[in-house]
Amino acid sequence: MGGDFAVVAEGLRKSFGTTLALDGFDLAVPSGSVCGLLGPNGAGKTTAVRILSTLLRFDGGRAEVGGIDVQRDPAQVRSRIGLTGQNPAVDEILTGRQNLVMFGKLNHLDAKSARRRADELLEQFGLTDAANKQAKSYSGGMKRRLDLAASFILAPQVMFLDEPTTGQDPRNRNEVWNVVRELVAEGTTVLLTTHYLEEADQLADQISVIDHGRVIADGTPEQLKSKIGGSRVDIVLNSVDELPIVAGLVERVCGNEAEVDPDRRRVSAPVKDRVATLTEVLRALEDAGILAEDVAVRKPTLDEVFLELTGHRAEEEVAA
């Protein structure tokens, strides 16, 4: 284990009663990078983060954060990490500044340093104007930024973000993404869980796809996407009769096998060059005299990633 990895997990196992949450979970996150832990609900993402951030003990395997053994010395790990859970964990009755001063003191800054650090963070996270307002008056995005600021008091070596944008509108999502990029610019290693492929794509240097408590695929976003065929073209037709003709036509243009969905009157196929293929498909349809109801090129959904990697859809896991 070189010192180049900020987070290392080897064969982590954890069960809750009879439910196996982690089943040989492996992870190695290089220092200064962003690792996206991608998977459906119930896959074990949150369990992994709670173990690595010392909130949960584990049954087997080994974990190191910032070079410190998590099980053996959790107290030392705690002074090297920041954690934001799925909901902003701030005191809503206190003001933004009071929250940060309190968490500063609990990080054992003296009163003066805690106040100074609070002001710095309020500035950095764009909360100076709302510093003396109660956190309950904050918008969802502001609360999330305050939450992130509270995890960042000692500029931790490793920051754990558990679904930081779930339930946030697109604007807030962008704000959070910008904050994460700033953290990385300051040298923090980030481990982020998400069930949005786009989020992992936007932020992560490296993605690990997790299902049933173990990593089933990892690599850069590009590597993963090429593994599952990148973008897809969808053509919805007016008549079911035309499906076979269009399927043949699409296969010729794309060079890939087309998927036919008679219920939706849809032909779908992976494409390599988005714009060029779209143009060619449209021309081929016109030449064949077929009028499509809808034609679109899109990124693969998480569902398709899962279908490709695991043979089952992500949605089936939600019941867990």
């Binding site: 949960l56 954690l83 859970g85 964990a89 009755i93 009071q98 800054l109 008091i153």
Partner: protein, 277 residues
């Protein structure tokens, strides 16, 4: 510049210092809530006044204190003090449960702070809160004519017993707050606890109740505190009943709360530790 965190304490003395310092930071958070919620302070002030008026005058008009001596208000007040201490369990439960629900407990647990400080802080804040409430209530009682008749020393001893009862209920509150999963379920628990805090000798002499009910009321830990404080305040009703539990009220006002703490404190600590299981 990003500040450096302090090194972890190595000696027991240094660890204790962290616990107290962090505990005070956590307690200070609760006290800051008062400043932001003056409405709650006003409600806290009005509550005892309403109780005194409601029980002292509305119900009290038809009440005769046992032994015939004195005013019903004089009989009632020690009961109201003790009941208010027991009611404190509600605040503790809700505070502990809300922190767990909102992830604040998890945030504390992920910080390099003394882990016992969360509980120490809760205790400090709730005890200070209850002391303030008790002072207000005693002031109200004095206004409506209640007096302590056995000297300030005994009166302070009585206050001590009341706070001991609060301390015991605080630990029940912490335990329940950690066990119960949602604020809604907490409401149901409170619905069950409320009769327990009423089924005492605070309002009526248990001898006037049906035998079985009277026995439960007599053996209710709150009743021992009520009888003992009545005695210490020199209020009527202390001598009521010739049962063992009534005659040993002074001892039981100490034994009951300690017994409750001995049972619930380890349970609460175990529960807190099991958050990481």
């Amino acid at each position: 510049m990003t500040p450096e965190g302090a090194l972890h304490p190595q000696t027991p003395a240094a660890r204790l210092k962290w616990t107290l310092k962090d505990g005070w930071t956590v307690a200070h958070r609760d006290l800051s809530h008062w400043v932001h919620q003056p409405g709650q302070i006003v409600a806290g002030l009005i509550f005892p006044i309403v109780f005194i008026l409601l029980f002292g005058y509305v119900f009290g008009s038809g009440m005769i204190p046992p032994e015939g001596g004195g005013d019903y208000i004089d009989f009632l007040m020690a009961g109201l003090f003790a009941q208010t201490m027991a009611f404190g369990i509600g605040e503790t439960m809700v505070a502990v449960n809300t922190d767990a629900e909102k992830g604040i407990t998890d945030r504390f647990r992920s910080l390099p702070m003394a882990q016992s400080a969360v509980v120490v802080g809760r205790n400090t804040a709730d005890m200070l809160n209850s002391m303030a409430g008790l002072i207000v209530m005693i002031a109200c009682a004095l206004v409506v004519g209640w007096r302590w008749n056995e000297g300030i020393g005994n009166a302070l001893l009585a206050v001590g017993l009341l706070l001991l009862l609060r301390f015991a209920f605080l630990w029940i509150g912490i335990y329940i707050g950690l066990v119960v999963k949602s604020p809604e379920a907490l409401g149901a628990v409170w619905g069950l606890l409320f009769p327990v805090t009423m089924l005492t000798n605070a309002f009526v002499d248990p001898r006037f109740m049906p035998d079985w009910l009277g026995a439960i009321a007599q053996w209710n830990p709150i009743s021992s505190t009520v009888t003992a404080t009545r005695d210490l305040f020199g209020n009527p009703g202390a001598a009521a009943g010739q049962t063992w539990i009534a005659e040993n009220a002074m001892m039981m006002a100490i034994v009951w709360p300690l017994l409750i703490v001995v049972v619930t404190l380890p349970l609460a600590v175990r529960r807190y530790q099991s958050l990481s299981r």
